[in-house]
Amino acid sequence: MKLDAAILARTQFAFTVSFHIIFPTISIGLAMFLAVIEGLWLKTKDPLYLQIYRFWLGIFAMAFGVGVVTGIVLSFEFGLGFARFGQFAGPAIGPMIALEVLTSFFLEAGFLGIMLFGLNRVGPRLHFFATCMVTLGTLMSASWILSANSWMQTPAGIVVENGHAVVTDWLKVIVNPSWLYRLPHMLIAAYITGSFLVAGVGAWYLLRGEHEEFGRRTVSLGTAFATVLIAGQVFIGDMLYGTMLKHQPSKMQAAEGFWEKESPSPAPYYWIIVPDQKDQRNRFALGTPYLGSIWLTHSLNGRVEGLKNTPPDRQPMMGMVFYGFRVMYGIAILMFGVGIASLWLRWQGKLFTTRWFLRTLVIMAPSGIFATLGGWYLAETGRQPWVIYGLMRTIDAISPVPAGALLSTLIAFVCVYAVFMTAFLVFSLRMIRRGPKEAPAEAEASGSLKPALKSLMMNAANQLAGK
């Protein structure tokens, strides 16, 4: 059997980046949650907030650690598996990725130590500042990465000279046409992921009758954040849809599952299709009549563009794009439904006592992760066959690396990452099963750095004095 180096390089990158994105999504979402919770603790001095903070800090730290380790691998893969992409796009992409790394190190890693170990050593306000800086760091890292990725989706601000991208306008490179919509879309996705995780764990405690005060507060906070955020996400998602329709029509044509240049009128909204890329048709399609026209054209009988508007050699694979979109969108609809149900139960005062709803929250706990993965498959498979949309094909970006080397490293990645995932799940589930530790009635923090450093300074002074 002859192995295809291009397919292996792409599979390897797809696997490692899919694994990686799970952890930044969790850590971005939990960082914001922790900042809000610590702020509430400082404001109210309610020890329950401190208990919630301490509990989720442990899981945040693990997600952060795995995210950093698996993120470093991706930079190497750019160079090793996609060197031609680096040669072409390095002048535009390189600085943005470098800035992402700098932001991570200076803000996230710099303040993470204080956040994890400093509560009893620095004052509560300084500790809160550290939490906010870590949160800001996650936000800025995401911003740079989204800028780089959005530039690959909607490149701007460059000219191509001698086979290299030469930047003519940095502002256009960074604030490219899709970045303004994709950044809030991704950040809200991460915050929703964090909210459903928090609510799901709280609901699990309530169902088991354990740590009930903790459970009630986290269910209340988690569902409140999720309800507001999912409404915002639906709004931003529609704006992003319009932007991508303008800049990457082939992606959205594939995402809706229509082949003909114009869909029938009224257009159905397909939920399941069996596409035949070779014959440019669907072997099977199941949808809701009228809904395609209503959702996609905002009219009762509008027509939707199909993939035959794009020449076959420039088409993405419809099945991957379509199902990536349906996974993301289907979960978003379920989340919106959960938000509405939570409002209805809150109105009746039954949010903590309705067992079917608590069970739903437990099931939905990891839903944000799957929705985010679906969204990224839509974004990345929909851009194909381009690595930089309209400028460089993916097949032209691959390094001349032997297929055997790519296969062996892919197997190694699968094995090592399986260990990472197992460790993350085992330790996280153990922490969740053990439950939150009782928080002290009052803040333990000493108030400032002075008392923490005083004993060290005294010891040093004594040593110098020869005592």
Partner: protein, 60 residues
């Protein structure tokens, strides 16, 4: 008891219809201005409902 159940079912159906309406408007079916107004209204409604007191235990 039966009347209470019917009331709960009717309430749930109304809540579902309100939810579907909000979803369709926020997603832009009636245009961007309506979408923005619906989003603001939804958040205001949610913030209002968040203030309701909740039972800690199921009523016997």
């Amino acid at each position: 008891m039966k009347q209470k159940n019917i009331g709960a079912i009717v309430g749930a159906i109304i809540a579902a219809l309100v939810g579907v309406t909000f979803f369709f408007v926020i997603i832009g079916v009636f245009g961007l201005p309506a979408s923005m107004i619906a989003l603001a209204a939804f958040i205001a409604l949610a913030l209002f409902v968040f203030r309701r007191p909740q039972a800690e235990r199921r009523q016997p």
